[in-house]
């Protein structure tokens, strides 16, 4: 008799940041909200538009690709409860411009010394770390489009 293997529960690193469900990570996108009043698209599931205060918001799945608008390299381990790889490895952090009309702060995968403004990028959704209750915490990054 085979024992049933229960996959760990998956949760988004922040509620409302990723589209659901999370079973097939290849299908997950960044969640956005479009304001029916001013048309501004903002990151996450938002009930109120931070631009105009409108309350008629449509959820939208943001594009899974964009361009590097600007970047930095984080050379020191960030303070507090940073859950990245141990031991710490310097990583790229950038603003990724999406065709939806917004730029998102995101870790940028790949060689930190070959980052360049304008590089085409693709969204990568993956399990980032294990949460306090053993759940898989899912987060995002962007990586150069090959």
């Amino acid at each position: 008799m085979a024992t049933e293997h229960q996959a760990p529960k998956r949760v988004a690193i922040r509620d409302g940041l990723l589209t659901e469900p999370l079973d097939d990570l290849a299908k997950v996108r960044l969640q956005g909200s479009r304001c029916r009043h001013c048309n501004e698209v903002t990151l996450g599931r938002n009930a109120i538009c931070p631009n105009c205060g409108g309350i008629d918001m449509d959820p939208v799945a943001l594009a899974d690709h964009g361009e590097l608008w600007t970047y930095t390299v984080v050379r020191h381990k960030p303070p507090g409860d940073y859950r990245g790889p141990e031991p710490f490895k310097p990583f790229g952090l950038g603003l990724v411009e999406l065709p939806d009309g917004l730029r998102v702060v995101s870790p940028i995968e790949g060689d930190v010394d070959s980052l360049k403004v304008g590089t085409p990028l693709r969204l990568k959704i993956s399990v980032h770390h294990t949460g306090a209750a053993g759940e898989d915490v899912v987060a995002f990054a962007f990586a150069p489009r090959l």
């Binding site: 930095t72 390299v73 303070p79 507090g80 603003l95």
Partner: protein
């Protein structure tokens, strides 16, 4: 509307001290009162700006000068806290509620990077988006891409400010670094380097503020507050921590531009009328960006301004004569009032080797988390 003036100023040096915040704060407050020739018992209201201190810090600090029953209010607006406290004093005097007010900024901060929980959401901390310099660096990188600003431009700002600080006994470092040392100092977040950023530390600064009428009775050498304005960034107008995204379509003016415009209008002055500036140089690039936003030059031209030495003490628009936050350190709640103390010293001609010749009008600017910005214009 009654004219509001500064009667006296005091400062406790910025640095790291084995002293309580009560000691540091009361030292600056007592110095400002002595400079103004005003007794603590005559003060009718007091405002304390601070970010990292516990509740009712203002009362705890000022109790040391004697327990009076005046209202003492703590205010906080990140790096702009001091401007907000000064503005509250101006408003109290203009309303007629008071005509003699003490404004004090005091801070005592832990070493190293600030506790990210103060401003970031837990998920940003977990993903490593919680280093303030990474946001400054991303703005710097974009400016370099768009306008050809270079590592050398950024290093030159740090070089200037560190060199100015040698003559400022209230600065933490007071040490000149060569351009080579700066440009070879370790990267914190590319392209910003160790010797190009400010450190959180301890310090306090205070001013005694009065109505023109009250000041006339007290005497001395009052400095006029020509403007004291505070604003917070409009939607997506300021990419700064703890932003997780920004609009690619909104085109709102940044908080420095908005606040400075308001201050210039109130004062009836323009950037060309200002003889000396103290501005937010949390990192050296920040100062470059602010040249443009204050209108010292056009968009993308700040690199040339620093190349031509125009913001040196001997230039036609001196910036950060005190050494700026890069060399003084940034005790957040005290930083703006520290700038105000420097401008007052300049307008009184008391700045010694860092004195700007014939300074009559000065501007102080701070900008921080959430796009909080304050601009104060002082004149003789």
């Amino acid at each position: 509307m009654s004219d509001v003036v500064i009667l006296g100023a005091g400062i406790h040096p910025f640095g790291r001290f084995d002293k309580t915040y009560e000691e540091i704060g009361s030292y600056a407050a007592a110095a400002a009162l002595a400079d103004a020739g005003v007794a603590w018992r005559d003060i009718q209201a007091a405002y304390l700006s601070r970010m990292y201190l516990p509740a009712t810090s203002g009362a705890r600090i000022l109790r040391r000068l004697g327990s009076t029953d005046i209202p003492i209010v703590d205010v906080e607006a990140a790096c702009a806290s001091g401007g907000v406290a000064l503005r509250q004093a101006v408003l109290a005097i203009r309303s007629g509620e008071a005509d003699l007010v003490l404004v004090l900024g005091t801070e005592k901060m832990p070493r190293g990077f600030m506790d990210p929980r103060m401003i970031y959401s837990p998920w940003q901390v977990e993903m490593g988006m919680s280093l303030n310099p990474s946001y400054w660096s991303m703005r710097a990188r974009r400016h370099m891409y768009e306008f050809g600003t270079t590592d050398l431009h950024i290093a030159k700002v740090a070089h200037k400010n560190h060199r100015n600080s040698v003559h400022n006994p209230n600065s933490m470092y007071q040490k000149e670094f060569s351009l080579e040392e700066i440009i070879n100092s370790p990267l914190v977040c590319d392209p910003i380097r160790r010797l190009e950023i400010c450190a959180p530390n301890d310090g306090a600064a205070a001013v005694v503020v009065a109505s023109r009428e009250r000041a006339a009775k007290i005497g001395g050498h009052p400095i006029t507050i020509a403007a004291c304005c505070h604003s917070i960034a409009r939607f997506s107008a300021d990419f700064r921590c703890p932003a997780d995204s920004m609009s690619a379509t909104a085109n709102n003016p940044g908080p420095t531009e908005v606040t400075a415009k308001q201050a210039f209008e109130r004062a009836g002055l323009g950037p060309k009328d200002i003889d000396c500036f103290e501005v937010q140089d949390t990192d050296a690039f920040c100062e470059i960006e602010i040249y443009e936003e204050l209108g010292l030059c056009g968009l993308g031209e700040a690199g040339r301004l620093i190349d031509e030495g125009r913001t040196e003490i001997g230039g036609d628009m001196p910036v950060n004569m005190s050494g700026g936050l890069i060399s003084k350190g940034e005790p957040v709640g005290a930083s703006h009032l520290g700038q105000v103390v420097e401008i007052i010293s300049q307008l009184r001609g008391q700045s010694g080797k860092r004195q700007v010749a014939d300074a009559k009008v000065g501007l102080a600017h701070v900008l921080g988390a959430g796009g909080n910005c304050a601009v104060t214009i002082l004149k003789n």
